[in-house]
């Protein structure tokens, strides 16, 4: 006979946890943030710059990404292959990532090899080869990426949504990695210009997280920054202008598609608003967890999808709200009806007490998990660098999360869920789905061919 314990157990005594202590160093004209994490032998070593895709000049969208990639394609007298091998023989894996607001370059590297990897990083930053032929290859690769991205239903839906939400041609209306015209136009001069004005010690910091036992952090910083000169760099940021056109629906026609990729959203607030904690609390209850309203209704109650979610992408100067799902073609209209009902319900009725309690606890309790790994801590330190946050930001943030009230959350929902501005993108079979969409109150329906 099976004997189970019927009673749900309570919690034990929690061990106190604070965001891991880190040190700041001013070395050779640069700044280093270093965090020791016990028994984490693969160290995250990266240069974080405050310029990302949002700051790219018009007509050269993609230059931030191409420059970041090109720095790893040969430096310090090594060609692309030799540079790759030099790192990998240390067990170091190179990464170069560009977001809207930042660029991050560096290695995941075994602790003992950090000094040698720092030398390679220095070469990539201070003496990159910037070879025009290599740039030509990277341009072709990125154009292939753009094609491949457009073929994926979810990515395609997000791309169409961005194009609908922002003034045509403005930076946020285009994919983060650029668009074909922009990428094709990036020449070696544009790369040099970006490198010389946007990737400089004065607008960047070196972030190191992992087991630092036996490492001389100031020496590592000196290796990266010495002899890498340049001014403070340009301040980041161009502003994209949102389109306020009311509700509408765009269907990208994919004959025979067995699912519709849905993206519903509007432009949103910038990072760092006073009600940001209230806003993200609301977002988690609406679509940020498995138990959230969107996922629970569309997946667990209706079986329309494998998953549904909602996020705010909070960038330096603006952002977007987007709810997403991929649903069986035949239920496209009812799924959209349910998604709109959940968004409207949160806007009008606000968060329930049990939801607020669960989200608050989840965010507070998550701290020791979120800030345990070198990558997790390096990511958090990078945000401090990129957004000029105070050093005690994460511990203070935890207090703000604990203190947020229903009134604040509901006010944030009413303010930042703009029901009349929701634009709907459907990537799917228009022959099956388009007809039913006109009667849902989602605005005029436009069907486009899939290019």
């Amino acid at each position: 006979m099976t004997v189970l314990v019927a009673e749900r157990p309570g919690a034990g005594e929690p061990r106190p946890f604070r965001f891991p202590a880190f040190s700041r160093h001013a070395v050779a004209g640069g700044t280093v943030l270093a965090c020791h994490l016990e028994r984490r032998p693969i160290v995250s070593l990266s240069l974080v710059s405050r310029s990302g895709a949002a700051a790219e000049p018009s007509g050269a969208e993609g230059v931030a990404n191409l420059t970041a990639q090109l720095l790893g394609q040969g430096a310090g007298g090594l060609d692309a292959h030799a540079f790759a091998v030099a790192g990998e023989r240390l067990g170091a894996s190179w990464f170069a990532a560009v977001g809207w607001d930042a660029t991050q370059l560096g290695f995941d590297v075994p602790s003992a090899a950090v000094p040698a990897a720092a030398e390679l990083l220095h070469h990539a930053l201070a003496s990159p080869t910037l070879d025009a032929e290599e740039l030509g290859r990277l341009r072709d690769e990125r154009l292939d990426d753009l094609m491949a991205d457009a073929a994926r239903p979810r990515t395609r839906a997000l791309r169409e949504l961005a194009a609908a939400l922002w003034r045509s041609g403005s930076r946020y209306s285009l994919p983060q990695a650029g668009h074909a015209a922009g990428v094709s136009a990036v020449d070696i001069e544009a790369v040099r210009q970006w490198h010389d004005t946007r990737l400089l010690p004065g607008c960047a910091a070196l972030v190191i997280a992992g087991d630092l036992t036996g490492l001389d952090i100031e020496a590592v910083g000196a290796t990266v920054f010495s002899g890498w000169s340049g001014g403070a760099g340009e301040a980041a940021g161009t502003t994209s202008e949102p389109v306020q056109g009311g509700r509408r629906v765009v269907v990208v026609h994919r004959p025979g598609a067995v699912q519709s990729a849905l993206a519903v959203g509007h432009s949103g607030p910038a990072r760092g608003g006073e009600d940001e904690v209230a806003l993200t609390t609301m977002q988690m209850a609406l679509g940020g967890t498995f138990s959230s309203r969107l996922n629970y209704t569309l997946r667990e109650k209706k079986g329309y999808t494998y998953g549904a979610s909602a996020q705010y992408d909070l960038r330096r100067d603006a952002g977007i709200f987007v709810a997403q799902s991929e649903v069986k073609t035949e239920v496209t209209a009812p799924a959209l009806t349910d998604a709109f009902a959940e968004i409207t319900g949160m806007h009008d009725g606000g968060i329930r007490a049990d939801e607020l309690d669960d989200v608050r606890r989840q965010r507070i309790e998550r701290y020791p998990l979120a800030f345990a790994s070198p990558r997790g801590v390096a990511g958090a330190l990078s945000e401090i660098v990129v957004y000029d946050l105070p050093d005690d930001y994460y511990d203070r943030q935890r207090e703000r999360i604990a203190a947020v009230t229903k009134e604040e959350v509901d006010a944030a929902g009413r303010r930042h869920l703009r029901l009349d501005d929701l634009v709907t993108v459907v990537v799917g079979d228009a022959d099956v789905v388009a007809e039913g969409l006109g009667d849902l109150g989602l605005g005029p329906v436009e069907v486009r061919a899939d290019e």
Binding site: E13, Y296, Y306
Partner: protein, 445 residues
């Protein structure tokens, strides 16, 4: 010590069994106040019966839908509310369930896992089954049928293994079989496979071993063993496919792609360790031979840091795979020919000491990185205990990889990467091909 000056730590483990057969592995690590809880059940899609493909994975979904003392939706709700990260995966050889929680919530995780190990049968309803069947069918649409190239793993498995072989069908299963799964099927599957004597429970992190063992006994001790467990079917297969099988798939894809699969020795054998090193030499990282020749020099394929890799099947045979996505304007024939030249150079030549050094260093970082995280380490202990009967093998895994020599790499490439032991799938762009209805054209050479 290795070239990078790093050696893998030896993790101290407690390895015991409850009276009902539940194997319990515990590794204390108090660096952060977190514990990883990880259960492997020795059941996967290879255990499925004909006409019931996808059942193991569908069942995994039902494990989140409530049990004797846990209501629908509560499993995830309770764990998320304490900050846990959690999930489950089903693969050919296993189904694993895991949650990483702040250590003062260990008991909650144990209670939830025990309740679904011992108390699922009466909670299974037709309504829940129908709901999760629809969810899984949408998972299949999202990941396979409505995704460019989405069907390649399923098709490689179908062609690389003999008819009826346990690895010949995909873990996601066919739409028809998913449709056919009945409440009786899932109840019988649960009875046969979900029992303490068919599972390994691993705890890694901020726990006291003896106190944790007492808690495990408290929550799991009352679950009886299954007297008639059904083991894995025989997966013995000839070492080689014996011919080249080619299939061309016109489909809605942006660019052509070529997927090549070779039948190879299973995970857990010395030659599989060689395959791990061989994969890095040929196609791992940005300094590999394929990256050098096909991306940097000839610009024929889209860059990848993992052109080559192997499935970790343990039952009789596994699959070594190369994955080439053509650059725009490059034909699949040209990409395949250039790939063949790289393989031929390995088979006919040698591997330089610098190449071995690079592969060993990258594998060292990979293993150290994976094991230094609590969740990765817990999964590795469950994996080695379930598949090979010994969790302590985790501690020597890196040594085995580092013992692989250049001569081993050439020898195994020579025996495995032959044209009469491979399946070649070629995707070609075809806008007229409606998703899910693409007809393959198959040729045997």
């Amino acid at each position: 010590m290795t070239v990078t000056g790093m050696s893998a730590p030896t993790y101290e483990i407690s390895d015991t069994r409850l009276a009902n057969g539940l194997r319990v592995v515990i590794n204390e690590d108090h660096a952060v106040p977190v514990v990883a809880v990880n259960i492997w059940y020795d059941v996967g899609s290879r255990h499925e019966e004909p006409g019931r493909t996808g059942l193991a994975h569908l069942f995994e979904h039902l494990m989140f839908e409530g049990s004797a003392n846990v209501g629908k939706g509560e499993h995830l709700k309770f764990l998320q509310a304490v900050g846990a990260s959690l999930n489950a995966t089903t693969w050919c050889d296993r189904t694993n369930y895991y949650e990483t929680v702040p250590s003062h919530h260990l008991e909650l995780a144990l209670w939830l896992e025990a309740d679904r190990m011992g108390g699922l049968a009466d909670s299974l309803s037709q309504e829940t089954l129908d709901n999760q069947r629809a969810v899984v069918q949408n998972e299949r649409r999202q990941s396979y049928d409505n995704q460019p190239y989405g069907g390649w793993t399923e098709q490689l498995q179908e062609l690389a293994f003999p008819e009826g072989h346990p690895y010949q069908h995909s873990t996601i299963g066919s739409m028809d079989d998913l449709e056919a799964a009945s409440l009786d099927d899932v109840k019988e599957f649960y009875r046969r496979h979900y029992a303490p004597n068919n599972a390994v429970l691993t705890l890694v992190g901020d726990v006291d071993t003896s106190a944790a063992l007492a808690l495990v006994e408290k929550y799991f001790g009352g679950i009886p063993a299954c007297p008639d467990l059904v083991g894995a079917p025989d997966g013995t297969a000839p070492a080689s496919i014996g011919r080249e099988i080619r299939r061309t798939i016109p489909d809605q894809v942006p660019l052509p792609a070529v997927f090549i699969g070779y039948r190879c020795p299973p995970f857990g054998t010395p030659d599989f360790d060689v395959i791990s090193v061989l994969s890095v030499v040929l196609g791992g990282g940005r300094g590999s031979r394929l990256y050098h020749d096909l991306v940097l020099s000839q610009q024929l394929v889209r860059p990848s840091e993992e052109f080559v890799g192997a499935f970790d099947f343990v039952g009789g045979a596994s699959l070594l795979i190369a994955d080439l996505h053509c650059a725009e304007g490059v034909s699949p024939e040209k990409a395949e020919a250039a790939y063949d030249a790289v393989v031929a150079a390995l088979i006919d030549g040698a591997v330089a000491p610098e190449e071995m050094e690079r592969a060993h260093a990258l594998l060292t970082s990979e293993v150290l990185g994976h094991l230094s995280g609590l969740d990765g380490r817990a999964d590795a202990f469950s994996q080695h205990a379930t598949l090979f009967g010994d969790p302590a093998l985790v501690n020597t895994r890196l040594d085995r990889l580092l013992a692989v020599t250049a001569a081993d790499v050439v020898r195994v490439a020579r025996s495995v990467m032959t044209k009469d032991n491979r399946v070649v799938l070629t995707y070609t762009p075809d806008d007229a091909a409606a998703d899910g209805a693409a007809e393959g054209v198959e040729v045997s050479a």
